[in-house]
Subunit: 274 residues, 2 copies
């Protein structure tokens, strides 16, 4: 079993409840990564809805920071069990207090290999956003916590390589970031990995503003588009809308074949470095 | 009282429950509009959280179509009452069955007039997406149900004027739509109107594919950015990602001063015209 599968494993505890542990090996500084906590909570819904094991559209509101190396409970409720998709909610608690709340549509994602199964207009089978051109991973810059002055335990799990043109905090004309990502232990990507990858890159706003401190997520939505092929995943993130201290960051993920596998957007607070 | 305020009014029914009515005057064809149902459900949260009356980040998953001219109940739960924002959920039921589920962060939006109150990096107070150039409303094309062959009761409440270059179903090189919107009874926009306006335009995909039938929303997220100034609101919508019959549509709303007031994104199913 891969590290990620092991570290997002939950045990049924009856009545839609699951027990597990938030591992500290996905921490950024002192806090567990939000994408990891999302994958952990959604793994409970995968167990609740075996006919719809894939996340399709996940909305998560972060209530309080998680606690690394501490037990957690996930409470789930199936809101509607449907034919093609199901809708459910999950609350992740630690020390008896809710840390995040998830509202999810679960289903079954395609690989895109057999063409569309839908009844959409015959003329157009697919619209998509093409993968940007990128230097290969070996010509990119490894993510590190040095610029932020923090320890990023997550980097013991994930290999993250940033576009050399983008790894320049405070020196870019816009808030953008492109980079490769994969698991260090060789686990191949899947839709649960996409949840983690959606929140594992440095904030795109660092490129424009420099390292401005903690950027805690208020809300994160991930739309899963396709099951990824094996290999590196490419992420592209941008922030064009900062108002009253609240920032929107948009993200796109492509698999190694160039197929778009996820779109994500988060609302975050931009806090001054303390 | 304006029509919209009257038609989104709920009465407390004890224990976080509210009773009201889904009016048919926001129908598109036979179904109540999704933005109207969202505003109705979120109005219950405004009552629950008087210290945080504005929607800030609203995620909604649509479970089943609503029923026009039929009673509804909204069940609410406050998940976290915080200092700057609060998080809550709401379920809208009709005939005893859940129709939609909302997960919301509520707060207090600024008007942007007094500058930012946040502690963000001093160098950049705001990033924003500029309003596109648009002909004035009187040179635009009124939305109608003729092309879709349906009656749009919503157009007895809302004045919607489309950019003449975009009101050409099936003839555009991309899936895009720009248009003006306001209430017909003169009610000025506010953050609740932004919820309605986020889902009141024709699907942007019609521009590229033609009128392809019903495009039911699975999930809609609206991030409210600022309290709108009086006057017309401008919407811009685009769809660049259709895969396996599921479409993502992005939207932006600006007020009459050109200030960005909302960003929205929905995941919808593209169904063949029956």
């Amino acid at each position: 079993m891969s590290q990620f599968d092991d570290e997002t494993r939950l045990s049924p505890a009856g009545e839609g409840r699951y027990s597990g542990r938030v591992h500290s090996c996905y921490n950024i500084g002192g806090n567990p990564n939000g994408g990891y906590l999302m994958a952990l909570a959604v793994s409970a819904l995968r167990d609740r809805l075996p006919q719809h094991p894939d996340p399709v559209s996940i909305g998560i509101h972060y209530l309080r920071p998680g606690i690394g190396d501490e037990a957690c409970e996930v409470q789930t409720e199936v809101i509607r069990a449907g034919r093609s998709v199901s809708t459910a909610r999950a609350t992740l608690l630690q020390q008896g207090v809710a840390r995040l709340e998830v509202l999810a549509t679960m289903g079954a994602l395609g690989t895109g290999e057999s063409g569309t199964k839908s009844s959409e207009a015959d003329a157009v089978q697919r619209l998509t956003i093409p993968m940007p051109s990128m230097p290969p991973p070996e010509q990119c810059v490894a993510r590190s916590g040095a610029a932020q002055g923090i320890t990023i335990a997550l980097l013991d799990r994930l290999d993250i390589r940033l576009h050399p043109d983008d790894a320049k905090p405070g020196l870019l004309p816009e808030a953008r970031l492109r980079g490769w990502i994969r698991f260090l232990d060789g686990r191949e990507p899947d839709p649960f990995a996409s949840l983690l990858f959606a929140d594992a890159f440095p904030p795109a706003v660092f490129g424009l503003l420099g390292v401005v401190g903690w950027v805690p997520t208020i809300e994160l939505t991930v739309h899963l588009r396709s099951r990824p092929a094996p290999g590196w995943v490419l992420g592209q993130f941008s922030a064009r809308d900062l108002d009253d201290g609240r920032l929107i960051e948009d993200g796109l993920l492509w698999d190694s074949t160039g197929r778009l596998i996820a779109q994500c957007r988060q609302l975050a607070m931009l806090l001054k470095r303390s």
